[in-house]
């Protein structure tokens, strides 16, 4: 006879666990749409995609296991912030790949695959209309597709794909925004199998969007049809869309204020402090990425890149990174400043 134990998290409300998550995170407007709950839900009841997280019929269908609460980065939320620990920082540009900035995310992933550190990696590609689409990278050749590299300013269901990947593979790489990175760390702390995620690449991030809201905004207010766009970017406080014919539309990100999801407005983690390596554009000149190397595995990869000379390497401007980290704390205070009645906190 075999027996084993598992922990049940403490409930805050006398409801099933999803009811707790809904009350404390989703309805409390803290949800960052990382989709970790959707990935871990044993009955696959929690839905993500291009709409707020929900569990239709949870009162009946939730099996009350508490896994969603265990992996949620916004449950008992304590914002992370700052530049975080790092062992090395460089500004670099891949000589092989084309990406958003210096394509260093892609270069690091390719090198990790070539070194045999990971068997596959979860990337975010897109369709013609810039809807996010998950792709599993098994071979470096897949990374030359320009749809696979580059930033999509919309939520992506990478973590559900990551969960499937760890079931079939022993070493997986992951790329995500800071909230997704935190979610992966929580998953690793709660469930051993997620130790198979060997490399977590974080992206610098201030906010993300729902695809339908972003595309509707662009069409209505800027007469921009994403179908014709070749690149979207946020640089120096401007949202920039480039088109096939070389033209571009640019406007201050501030104008997007009304469609910034509430969960992003309480997030202070710009640099993905819990990642193995964080990559962003701030701190580097155009065409280069800033790479913050935080852990041993990332260090080994960057050393390999340097040894092979597959990237051009420069000095970054850490002042700019620090400034953005501070700025994010300022614009996203937690608990939020203008709040309604504070909820009574009774368990």
């Amino acid at each position: 006879m075999q027996e084993w134990q598992f922990v049940m998290p403490e409930k805050k409300h006398k409801k099933k666990f999803f009811g707790n998550l809904k009350a404390e995170v989703i309805d409390a407007k803290l949800c960052c749409h990382c989709a970790a709950c959707s990935a871990i839900c044993p009955v696959y009841g929690i839905t993500a995609g291009d709409k707020p997280i929900e569990f239709p019929n949870w009162v009946k269908d939730c099996v009350d296991c508490g896994a969603c609460v265990k992996v949620c980065p916004r449950w008992e939320y304590k914002p992370l912030n700052g530049v975080g620990n790092y062992v090395e920082v460089i500004s670099a540009k891949s000589k092989r790949f084309k990406g958003q900035d210096g394509a260093m995310v892609t270069e690091i992933t390719a090198t990790a695959l070539e070194m045999g550190l990971i068997e596959k990696a979860i990337f975010v590609s897109r369709d013609e209309d810039w809807r996010t689409k998950i792709v599993t990278i098994r071979d470096v050749s897949q990374l030359y597709d320009r749809k696979v590299t580059g930033t999509k300013y919309c939520y992506a269901d990478s973590i559900p794909a990551l969960k499937e990947a760890i079931l079939s593979s022993k070493a997986v790489g992951f790329v995500g925004t800071p909230c997704m990175v935190s979610a992966v760390r929580k998953m690793q702390n709660s469930f051993k199998k997620f130790e198979r995620v060997k490399l977590v690449i974080g992206l610098f991030c201030t906010e993300n969007f729902y695809h339908h809201q972003l595309s509707e905004f662009l069409l209505k207010h800027k007469n921009v049809d994403l179908m014709k766009a070749t690149k979207t970017d946020i640089k120096k406080g401007k949202f920039i869309v480039r088109f096939v014919d070389g033209s571009r539309v640019s406007f201050p990100v501030k104008e997007l204020e009304e469609i910034i999801p509430s969960g992003c407005k309480v997030c202070q983690d710009f640099s993905a402090v819990e990642s193995d390596v964080s990559v962003g554009s701030v701190g580097s000149e155009s065409g280069f990425s800033t790479v913050l190397v935080r852990t041993e595995i990332a260090k080994a990869i960057v050393d390999k890149i340097r040894e092979r000379g597959t990237a051009e390497i420069k000095e970054p401007d850490m002042g700019a990174v620090q400034k953005l980290c501070d700025y994010k704390i300022k614009i996203h205070p937690y608990p939020p400043k203008k709040k309604e009645e504070k909820k009574e906190e009774k368990s």
């Binding site: 075999q2 084993w4 134990q5 099996v63 469930f191």
Partner: protein, 248 residues
């Protein structure tokens, strides 16, 4: 190649007649035809050729594995004192995945290969009809076996008849039981408990301690002796941390 015109000369005609008569005599005395004259003759098949599926009801644990694995969707579970499988031979493709996947050896193959049914309805064989071989009407008088070597192949006709009363080719099954390979990855969703047809997995509430200190509430999951090793929980587990392990 061009087909030559057949000569109609009386001598050629006569020669052809003689040839035919000669062949007829030869076949009457020492026949060398290779066709099996079913049903007067019956071909002997190798032991492992998949045949009519038989069921040992006392071994069946109603785990539904056979019904779920069947690629032709030919197995229907019906309720008697418990659920038992019936095979629809209008659909069965004789892959015997059901036999191979049966965790207890309740399903087995037999060496009955030629089945005949009077109607389509009759081809839907019920569990109760699978516990023994159907009535066999034998018309065969001799058996036939092919021998194939690298150079040529021969047919051997034997007077003795094959015994098709051998009921079951019993699969060798080692008893197995569900086992959690990585308890540290258990979500605590209890899907294994839910799916278990024998209530073999049980749960108790407990306190979780770490180094002697209580760190929270939790549960204990136990796989009890009731487990028959059907493997349903293994397939259900969303983290794929369960496996079947042989027990002595």
């Amino acid at each position: 190649m061009k087909v030559e015109k057949i000569s109609r000369s009386p001598i050629a005609e006569l020669k052809r007649h003689v040839d035919v008569i000669q062949e007829a005599f030869k076949q009457a005395l020492i026949p060398d035809r290779v066709t099996v004259e079913y049903p007067r003759e019956r071909r002997i098949y190798p032991d492992n050729l998949r045949g009519f599926i038989v069921l040992d009801r006392s071994k069946c644990i109603s785990c539904f594995r056979c019904a779920q694995i069947c690629p032709a969707n030919a197995i229907q579970m019906s309720l008697y004192d418990n659920f038992y499988p019936g095979v629809d031979y209008t659909k069965c493709i004789f892959c015997h995945f059901c036999v191979d996947s049966c965790p207890t050896g309740a399903l087995a193959s037999s060496n009955l290969h030629d089945m005949a049914f009077r109607s389509l309805e009759e081809m839907k064989v019920k569990a109760t009809q699978m516990t023994r071989l159907p009535t066999i009407v034998r018309e065969d008088k001799q058996s036939v076996e092919y021998f194939v070597t690298k150079k040529d192949w021969k047919l051997q006709r034997k007077k003795e008849l094959e015994d098709i009363s051998v009921l079951r080719i019993i699969p060798r099954i080692k008893p197995r039981r569900a086992f959690c390979e990585e308890p540290e990855s258990c979500l605590g969703c209890r899907q294994c408990m839910e799916v278990c047809p024998h209530d073999a997995i049980v749960m108790e509430r407990c306190e979780i301690t770490l180094g002697g200190e209580v760190i929270g509430k939790g549960c204990i999951l136990k796989v009890t002796e009731k487990c028959v090793g059907c493997g349903l929980c293994v397939r259900q587990c969303p983290m794929q941390i369960l496996a079947l392990k042989e027990v002595e």
